[in-house]
Amino acid sequence: MATTEANAVGGFQMKGEEQVRINKGMLHGLWALTNRELKKWYKVPVLLFLSIIQPVIWLGLFGKAMNFGALFTSTSFNIPGLNIPKATLDQLATQAMLSTFGTTDYFSFLAVGMLSFIILFTAMFSGMSIVWDRRFGFLDKLLSTPVARGSIVMGKVFSSIIRSLAQAAVVLVVAVLLGMDTAKITVVGLAGTFLALFLMAMGLSALFLMLALRSTDWQSQMAIMNLLNLPLLFASNALFPSKLMPAWLQVVAKLNPVSYATDAGRQLLLGVPGFASLGFDFLFLTAFAALFSGVGIFLSWRYLSR
């Protein structure tokens, strides 16, 4: 307030020669919008910490509690009357684990599933920010600028992807620290896994943003998220292999992108046989990501302004 009027006037130079250098490209503003969302996250480490805690707890408690490998081995399990030797039982157990999970270690099996879990849960929140932006009038302000309508949606998609991949990386490190099997992890495998996760994050973020495009009401958005999150997780192979599910549930799992990202990750990180070929996993995920991003951009031109 201390600034004098003369000062204020002198400081403001309207007649600019810079007009020439204005970037009118289709993609201008995309990174600025992405970074705006990211700032809210990386500037508040508590948020990052909180968002990672959930999958880590699942990993630690659920993964360690569901000690399927010990079903036969660590108890005095036997069939009354038949005195099966312990070695045979152990072998049976190993074979049962291998044929069910493709690995003898359920914890490692679940760890890959948790990577998909954190992507799913982060992507779901992508829709919330557009609801808030609409409510506070920030969206209208954006729409009055010449930034591409598609960039408004894709900025949110990209920030959601970056956030969820960063979180997945942290979850993977924690899983390794907790005893995940690292014998078969390679650089290529890691890169492939994160590519699969990237595609899934892209498709899911775009999907949830689309659902929120016209909404002004965060309660209904929360309701949609709560309706979809656990079913999408359970009806996939993230926690349990889909091949042992009832036929109707297998159909759902086969349509669920979470299954394909998890499947690709397991093949690449653990070397386990997948329920689809790696090629098909990536094909499915690419199609999923492209479809929903495309539809999302299309709808944003149509529906962002009324």
Partner: protein
């Protein structure tokens, strides 16, 4: 052609260019509400044009259509030479908008907000930084630039909105209720910035308001809008002289005599109305008519109880053309409450 006709009608503006031409603009919402009803007007380059009207008169809806946020149901408008229907993108490049709500991102600093909008207007980083500093200086936020917006007061937020709306150096700046709910000090400051923009940079400003003194003191021309229609449009001077000049209120001790026709005979009196215990007299020049009336009344043997002279205000103009008073206080407090709710939601 149209420019010339318009200019001829408004003598003061014969040399001005039309920068915004609105014809038959109409918005009918899905619930059949006709928010804006065939509105037509022109705005000249370098003027401050105001829409004056109560809540729900269609002011904000008009701004939203002109800034391409809403599609008009009917009618056309050309803003800075671009058709708002066919060339919305070009319109967006050339105008700036200061919305009614506080829309800045609370989690970012004032400077970061301006830099973000600069980027959205495609302004390269170094130029943006320079402009941001200049704008922060203009709206006197340079010291608070590095603080998060969530720590800003209402007045600081409003000034930040103004800076964000100026970052692309627009030809036309739209301001929706720019001083709503501000304290007197900040309101005066905002008016000063608006005048600087007009006078020093030749910017054209289109603003809406329901403060009569804002329309009166700030705007070159005012359109009075009510129920989606422009009921009157002109310079503030034209509007005021349109209501028949100054008003004189005269009280006479002799209550049982009707002096209406007697007063009417006094020179330059244009109308006399008897209301209860006093007369309401109109005359172009009140300070000359008033003594003449008093002399006439006295010389006829009557006694003057009291006399008062009021210069016409937009208030009267408003009453005259809409048939009702601008419910200033009520509308104001409701809107301010809505705005505070927004801020609280943002902070929660």
């Amino acid at each position: 052609m149209l420019e010339m006709e318009e200019a001829a009608r408004n003598g003061n503006y014969e040399s001005k260019n039309v920068i915004m031409e609105v014809k038959g603009l109409t918005k009918i919402f899905e619930n059949k509400l006709k928010a804006v009803d065939s509105v037509s007007f022109s705005v000249y380059e370098g003027e401050i044009f105001g829409f004056l009207g109560p809540n729900g008169a269609g002011k904000s809806t008009t701004i939203k259509m002109l800034t391409t946020l809403l599609r008009p149901s009917e009618g056309d408008a050309v803003v800075c030479g671009f058709d708002i229907r066919k060339q919305p993108q070009e319109v967006r490049w050339s105008v700036g908008v200061v919305p009614q709500e506080y829309t800045a991102d609370e989690d970012m600093t004032g400077l970061e907000n301006i830099m973000l909008f600069a980027n959205l207007y495609g302004i390269p980083g170094d130029v943006a930084r320079k402009r941001a500093d200049e704008l922060l200086m203009l709206v006197e936020l340079n010291e608070a630039a590095g603080r998060k917006v969530s720590t800003y007061s209402g007045g600081m937020r409003r000034r930040l909105e103004l800076a964000c709306g100026l970052v692309n150096h627009p030809k036309v700046l739209f301001l929706d209720e720019p001083t709503l709910g501000l304290d007197v000090q900040t309101r005066t400051a905002v008016w000063r910035y608006i005048r600087i923009l007009k006078e020093q940079y030749g910017m054209t400003l289109f603003l809406t308001t329901h403060y009569l003194e804002e329309a009166d003191g700030l705007c070159d021309r005012v359109g009075i809008i009510d129920h989606g229609k422009i009921v009157r449009l002109g310079t503030t001077g034209e509007l005021k002289s349109g209501v028949g000049g100054d008003a004189i209120e005269l009280g006479i001790r002799e209550k049982d005599v009707d002096l209406t026709s007697f007063i009417m005979k006094v020179d330059s009196v244009t109308s006399v109305v008897r209301e209860n215990d006093h007369y309401r007299i109109k005359a172009p020049l009140g300070e000359e008519a008033a003594p003449a009336i008093m002399d006439a009344v006295r010389s006829a043997g009557y006694h003057v109880d009291r006399i008062s002279l009021t210069k016409p205000t937009l208030d009267e103009v408003y009453l005259e053309y809409t048939g009702h008073k601008l419910r200033d206080e009520e509308a104001n407090s409701q809107q301010v409450m809505a705005q505070q709710r927004t801020v609280r939601r943002a902070r929660a």
